[in-house]
Amino acid sequence: MTVLKVGILSCSGEECLGGTISRLATRKVLEEMTMVDTVTLCLPLYNAGGTEERNFASVFPTISVDGCDKLCAKRSTEKYSGRINGSIDVSKIIGNENALNTKIIRNKDLNEEHYQMVDEVAGEIVKAISNLNPDSYTGKTFRGCSCND
């Protein structure tokens, strides 16, 4: 049976809530999605790593998840790997005011409302995965993240 693999790249931005939501939603999909094998890569490895990291999006259909409209994950993936198959702007889902909240960023400060945002964004990631062209899943041979994940 062919294993379907999809890469999800989160900005994980540290300056605002949108980054935290992007990170947690990405983790949720990685941990809970069973139909497709989802993988991720630390975004900073694009610049700090080697060819293997930069080949990430050329071997996996890849979806970026950004916390704000700077779209750093999307733009970096395009810059270093050449293409992106789907892009999610968290600020468009939870609103700019929430996404750019600079006071509540830590996991331990999140409440039920924030976890609902995580669920909503995770749902959008799953939708984006289901919208991928099935042909893009095939023939992928990525050997895994260089930090052994």
Partner: protein, 130 residues
């Protein structure tokens, strides 16, 4: 331009140590030293945008990395930041052998103990220079 010390974690998403780095930095800049320190999104630094390079150029930085790839230190240096201290999460966790720190999604109580320890070290460094 802000003269605050820039404290930047890797926020690695694959392992618990990336989350430890992230939470330690956020504790430092939001709770321990908000007047003296701030963070900058590492993903923004990675874009190489001129605006963020301008922000980083010559600024005093402390980086916190969760794995030996030291992505935060490398990217901050590439962006023109002056890294005065490279904090490595693994240097602290090796003193806590056998403990479970949680996951890359959520830290355990022991994970938060390591966060507190690293944040205290960073605070000490900041207070020496700022």
């Amino acid at each position: 331009m802000s003269n605050k010390v820039k404290v930047i974690p890797c926020s690695g998403i694959g392992k618990v140590y990336g989350l430890v780095a992230r939470e330690a930095v956020l504790k430092t800049v939001l709770e321990l030293c908000p007047e003296k320190a701030e963070t900058v999104c590492l993903a923004y630094i990675v874009t190489g945008d001129e605006e963020v390079k301008e922000k980083m150029r010559g600024s005093v930085c402390i980086t916190v990395d969760g794995c030996p790839k030291i992505c935060a230190a490398k990217n901050v240096t590439l962006a023109g930041g002056v890294v005065i201290e490279e904090v490595k999460v693994l240097d602290t966790v090796k003193d806590h052998k056998g403990k479970k720190f949680g996951s890359a999604t959520e830290l355990s109580d022991d994970g938060y103990l390591v966060v507190d320890e690293i944040a205290a070290k960073i605070e000490k460094s900041i207070n020496k220079i700022a």
